[in-house]
């Protein structure tokens, strides 16, 4: 029998969206002189430890949430000083003149941040306001009341063995009940996915489309460090029919964040986002920032890139999806933390109003209404066609999006559509193999030494948190048709095709302990056979300011 506790509002996920919602709820209660109980759970061992982002942050939403964030010591200190957008070919780069860039690519007034540190700081603000913040506890199961409305979540059981038995350290999870539950799990949340199905939240909207972002944090020699400089590149090493690009953000303290994003609608199953990222760093335009430096950290995370037309319905009886759980990221602006914060604030305002009116477990219709009349909607509407244009290839896509933004100012009378990523792979036999260079151990690395730097860890004796719906599919379909693409798209070396001594009898080995919780497998598996669920709370990567 699980214990249970009651709250006014429960928030699942301690990223920018969830924490902003928690803070806003408590601010509103203080303003109105009322009280509201708010509980926030987070699967990472501490707030911020599962956050991975570029990140250039537009402070607009933070200005609204905590106007004196500077005085409150927010780790938002490195103002952007220069934007460089570069088209790369194999040997050279061509910088786009700033005058030709659409506004969404300009970052004047924005900040380069380590989003994990920002989340940690927001967590401290939330706790100071009286939010009950519990890192180390994953929302494992959605709870419904007798009317079918969401009444909260249960945290996962601890100490269950690989076979699903109760081990010696077994502890049952706990039921957290609330009048309203806000889901802020980030991109492709495993509960969000269930809610979309349960309440048909995707009816009448485009499928979500995703990218995988891989990132490293480097400490570089002072003479190579240009604090405040933001570099975005496109082109090499990806072929022009594959969406993707890289970034180099010069942070404070000789730190440089470097990363690479590959659209998960790529078609060649031989493609390896990890190895594209590694060879990206060898380009003369990129290498020049890193040489003589040292890699400090590594991680990866899927990104929801579909924009407005891929957003599910935001509310259902008993709760709402916020942040990237609902796909609020602005792919054209290459940023989403401001949208996450704003969406959390809007949902909080709706939930506060409902609780104050003594309502519970109904639809928070005020949230989508407020969103539609907000600056965030206007912003996302303006760039809504970015990702669909890019399906036309790098050159045509850039040209069309350029015209859309510079000439039509984002007011084109058409809205283009997105399609799902998982069915885009072509047969392995029809695609060129890609010969990736061997890592040099200085600038480029292998997967395992990289995963090591994510500090990821999972108890081995627990049920595998990467579930296969059909155990025959990895070999009969994935290996036979697509040469087992999970070996390559997984940034953490979780999936391996093992064979016996004679090299036959292939089987899929899942090294679940390596998982960095990026969710790419849940998205890209061609038949959607992999289901990502939460492992024990407190496990997974321990990112430190990623």
């Amino acid at each position: 029998m699980r214990e249970s506790m009651e709250f006014d509002v429960l928030i699942v996920g301690g990223g920018p969206a969830g924490l902003a919602a928690a803070i806003r709820l408590k601010q509103l209660a203080a303003e109105k002189g009322s009280d509201i109980s708010v509980c926030l759970i987070e699967k990472a061992a501490e707030i911020g430890a599962h956050i991975l982002s570029g990140a250039v942050m537009d402070p607009r939403a933070l200005n609204e949430l905590i106007p004196d964030w500077k005085e409150q010591g927010a780790p938002v200190t490195t103002a952007v000083t220069e934007d460089r957008v570069i088209f790369l070919n194999e040997t050279r780069g061509r910088k786009v003149p700033t005058g030709l860039l659409p506004d969404c690519f300009l970052n004047h007034g924005n900040y380069i941040v380590r989003l994990g540190n920002v989340a940690k700081w927001l967590g401290e603000q939330a706790e100071a306001l009286g939010v009950e913040v519990y890192p180390g506890f994953a929302g494992a199961e959605i709870l419904f009341d007798e009317t079918g409305a969401v009444k909260g979540v249960a945290t996962g059981d601890m100490g269950v063995t690989r076979e699903g038995e109760q081990g010696p350290a077994y502890q049952p999870g706990m039921e957290l009940h609330a009048k309203y539950t806000l889901f802020a799990e980030g991109c492709r949340g495993h509960l969000g996915k269930q809610l979309e199905a349960q309440f048909n939240l995707r009816n009448g909207v485009d499928p979500q489309t995703y990218g995988i972002g891989l990132k490293e944090l480097w400490e570089v020699p002072a003479e190579r460090h240009e604090p405040g400089v933001v570099v975005h590149t496109t082109g090499w090493p990806l072929p022009s029919d594959t969406y993707g690009g890289g970034f180099v953000y010069h942070l404070e303290d000789k730190l440089v964040a470097i990363g690479y994003v590959v659209g998960l609608n790529y078609t060649n199953p031989h493609l390896s986002p990890f190895e594209e990222f590694q060879r990206y760093k060898t380009h003369p335009e990129i290498r020049k920032y890193l040489e003589g430096g040292k890699r400090l950290a590594y991680g990866a995370r899927a990104i929801a890139a579909g924009g407005l037309q891929s957003q599910p319905k935001l509310v259902f009886p008993g709760g709402a999806l916020i942040g990237d759980d609902a796909g609020f990221l602005n792919a054209a602006r290459i940023k989403g933390s401001h949208a996450a914060i704003k969406s959390g604030m809007l949902a909080a305002e709706a939930a506060f109003g409902a609780v104050a009116a003594e309502r519970q477990r109904d639809e928070l219709a005020a949230f989508p209404e407020a969103f539609r009349s907000s600056w965030l909607y206007e912003e996302l509407h303006k760039t809504r066609n970015f990702k669909p244009y890019m399906k036309k290839g790098l050159w045509m896509g850039s040209l069309l999006f350029g015209i859309d933004q510079k000439v039509l100012k984002g007011k084109a009378p058409w809205t283009l559509h997105n399609s799902a990523d998982h069915d885009k792979l072509k047969l392995a036999s029809e695609c060129p193999k890609i010969d990736y260079p061997k890592p040099d151990g200085v600038l480029t690395f292998d997967r395992l030494s990289s995963v090591f730097l994510s500090n990821t860890n999972h108890e081995e004796d627990q049920p595998c948190h990467l579930q296969l719906k059909d155990t025959s599919v990895p070999i009969a379909v994935n290996l036979a048709k697509y040469d087992a693409p999970e070996q390559r798209y997984c940034p953490a070396g979780v999936y391996e095709i093992a064979r016996d001594e004679s090299g036959s009898n292939p089987r899929l080995q899942i090294n679940a302990q390596n998982c960095v919780h990026c969710k790419t497998c849940d998205i890209k598996d061609p038949t959607q056979n992999i289901n990502w669920v939460v492992p024990q709370g407190g496990e997974g990567p321990i990112y430190q300011g990623m």
């Binding site: 506790m5 009950e132 945290t155 350290a169 706990m174 300011g545």
Partner: protein, 249 residues
């Protein structure tokens, strides 16, 4: 019977530590910290003794910065009844910690102190032993089994090549080895309860203890990288390399 359990806040065991560029120590800015795993075993053992009705109270103690409160809350979430923080920003070395613990033992009069055998950050393995010496109490280190009787403790110890069983008079100091127990997961209800348990803060000066460091750290460096292996043609070449290159035979 009261049990005192010292707990140390250290870099989390999953985190890969990084030496600061200037060689003065390990970088702990933004690094996840948690309770020293051996201390967690000590808390678990003490709580089990209380749950078995042998001990009546478990007091967790931590010495260090304000954030050590989190470590004490973690100990109370496992089941410690209350916490004492000896708060200071000064770097604490094992002798200073042992002196602080002595002052608290004089005040709290525990029957037994159960601590971790060493902390995973500096691996000193000294505090328990120094505390026993300062108190003039018996000690049983590296415990893999602890039985408390009437005025005596029977402790099985992990030693080179086997196990040794000691009987020591109480009060005493016991330090834990890895196999003593497997600490429980702190549950959400227990974490909530732990937030409400009493936590006292004292300063080293209140205890009349001089904590000035006696040791100076000259340099902290990363271990040398393992160089790539080579394939030798035959035994003769292997012997030659071992003799002349590696100089190990």
């Amino acid at each position: 019977m009261k049990i005192l359990v010292p707990v140390k806040r250290v870099v989390d065991y999953n985190v890969k530590v990084r030496v600061k560029a200037d060689g003065t120590g390990v970088d702990i800015a933004n690094v996840k910290m948690s309770m020293n795993p051996f201390d967690e075993i000590a808390v678990e053992e003490a709580v089990r003794l209380r749950e078995a009705g042998i001990a009546t109270e478990v007091v967790a103690v931590s010495c260090g910065v304000t954030a050590c409160q989190e470590t004490l809350r973690a100990a109370m979430a496992i089941g410690a009844d209350r916490g004492i923080l000896v708060e200071t920003d000064v770097e604490l070395q094992p002798l200073a910690v042992a002196k602080l613990l002595k002052a608290l033992c004089d005040k709290e009069q525990p029957t037994v102190v159960i601590g971790g055998k060493q902390a995973i950050d500096d691996d000193s393995n000294q505090t328990g032993q120094m505390l026993a010496a300062l108190m003039g109490w018996p000690q049983a280190t590296f415990a893999s089994k602890v039985t408390l009787g009437d005025g005596v403790a029977t402790v099985m110890r992990e030693i080179d090549g086997g196990l040794e069983t000691l009987e020591i008079k109480l009060p005493a100091v016991v330090t834990t080895d890895l196999r003593l127990n497997e600490p429980r997961y702190a549950t959400l209800p227990n974490i909530m309860k732990a937030k409400k348990k009493p936590l006292d803060t004292v300063k080293p000066a209140d205890l009349g203890v001089d904590i000035a460091p006696r040791l100076a750290t000259l340099k902290v460096a990363e271990p040398p990288k393992r160089s790539a292996g080579v394939r030798v043609a035959d035994v003769a070449q292997l012997v030659d390399k071992l003799k002349n290159e590696a100089k190990v035979i």
